[in-house]
């Protein structure tokens, strides 16, 4: 009773021959996929499709010849379960890739890196300057008094800072010129609360009070 007699199980469990067929086919698919990548017989999406086809073929071969799916006693609940799982996997994997690609498309990678770099003050990524400042340079001051800006022109280097000081009782809303607007777009300065901006973009910038356009000035940021 303890030794299991060979039973009429050939269909449900497979034979040496079926394992050999499965093994040889798997070898062929693996090596073909490997060679097509190493030799670069095609490139890009076509190559990706090729290796995916080899993987799926090998999946089918192993599920049939090694796991013997579909050859057990009927009804085949395990086959149903298998295909249910496969569809869930397709939804999860393809759905994730689709959604995340869409997200990447809408938030283009370079912009995200640039924004992150500026927020975190990372001056270089991958050897390229990001426009963010790791070390802050000279501080320049612009004073607004009686609706007049002094000095009206400031020349600064990249990564210098510019402080707006308001000596008037009312608040001044400084906007930067329409054509060459600066990051931040608008700075609101109240009396005895100066505002400082970091000059992390080279260029020539005009600014003015949003209420009285005569209160105007400009600054140049040399790269």
């Amino acid at each position: 009773m303890s030794e299991l007699k060979p039973k009429n199980h050939k269909n449900a469990h497979g034979t040496t021959l079926s394992y050999v067929i499965g093994f040889v086919l798997s070898l062929v698919f693996t090596i073909n996929a490997y060679i097509s990548v190493v030799n670069k017989s095609t490139t890009g999406t076509r190559l990706l499709a090729t290796i995916l086809v080899f993987a799926v073929l090998q999946l089918a071969v192993q599920v049939f010849f090694f796991l013997h799916l579909g050859r057990g006693p009927k009804p085949l609940y395990n086959v149903t379960f298998f295909f249910g799982t496969v569809s869930l996997i397709l939804v999860v994997v393809l759905g994730s890739i689709f959604i995340m690609n869409n997200l990447h498309y809408n938030m283009a990678g370079t912009d995200v890196i640039k924004k992150l770099a500026q927020d975190e003050g990372i001056a270089q990524v991958d050897g390229k300057k990001t426009g963010a400042c790791a070390a802050v340079g000279t501080n320049y001051k612009v004073t607004i008094q009686d609706g007049k800006i002094s000095p009206t022109t400031t020349r600064a280097q990249l990564c210098d800072t510019l402080t707006f000081i308001n000596e008037d009782s009312g608040a001044h809303k400084i906007t930067f010129g329409q054509q060459q607007s600066y990051a931040g777009q608008e700075v609101s300065v109240n009396k005895s609360y100066p505002k400082t901006i970091t000059l992390n973009q080279p260029g020539i910038y005009l600014f003015q009070d949003s209420v009285s356009p005569t209160t105007a000035g400009n600054f140049t940021v040399a790269p």
């Binding site: 199980h9 070898l27 192993q62 090694f66």
Partner: protein, 196 residues
């Protein structure tokens, strides 16, 4: 008549156990699917660091694939021997499967240690987090499969190939074939994909 009914009873129990284990394998597959999705989404996020293309060794990945595939094959041959009641063959084929599994694990650990020594740990960037999680989870499955195999083989040596033991070996072989199938996709989507 009595013998027939006990045998069909045994058969029904077998089917129940097999189906239960199949359900486990499928849910485990779902977990791997999520880890694959995470890797697919994050594998480009290296924050300027080296990518898979710079670091992966294709010959090493191929060697791992062939070793695991062969171990899946020898595992199948072991099951044929088990159903035929050849204890010695079972021990030999499963022994070979065990050694192949162990060498696979050795190669994987070698790769991991090289990465970590070069300063690429699981917390380096999103690419390495998802890589180590996906491939490491598979490695943990292989490790537990090897432990399971060692323990079952000791039982086979002590108690012989009982019906109960053959059922256990069947589940083990299902698990082992399953891990090979998961590896095919790691080989394709992680290693080969990096060089496309």
């Amino acid at each position: 008549m009595v013998e027939h009914s006990s045998e069909s009873h045994e058969e029904a129990a077998n089917e129940r156990v097999m189906f239960g284990f199949w359900v486990y394998l499928m849910t485990d597959l779902l977990m791997f699917a999520v880890l694959f999705a995470v890797y697919a989404v994050l594998h480009d996020n290296t924050v300027g660091g080296p990518t898979g293309r710079d670091l992966f060794s294709l010959p090493l990945a191929l060697a791992e694939t062939l070793i695991l595939l062969t171990s899946s094959f020898t595992c199948g041959l072991a099951m044929i021997a088990a159903r035929a009641g050849h204890k010695k063959q079972v021990l030999n084929w499963f022994g070979l499967t065990f050694i192949l599994g162990l060498s696979f694990l050795g190669l994987e650990l070698k790769e991991f240690t090289e990465f970590i020594h070069a300063g690429h740990t699981i917390s380096t960037n999103a690419f390495f987090s998802s890589f180590f999680t996906l491939v490491g989870t598979h490695g943990l499955h292989i490790t537990s499969g090897l432990l399971w195999m060692a323990i079952t083989l000791i039982y086979v040596m002590k108690r012989g190939l009982t019906t109960h033991m053959v059922r256990k070996l069947t589940l083990l072989s299902l698990f082992w074939h399953f891990l090979d199938i998961v590896w095919i996709f790691i080989f394709t989507l992680v290693y080969l994909r990096a060089f496309v």
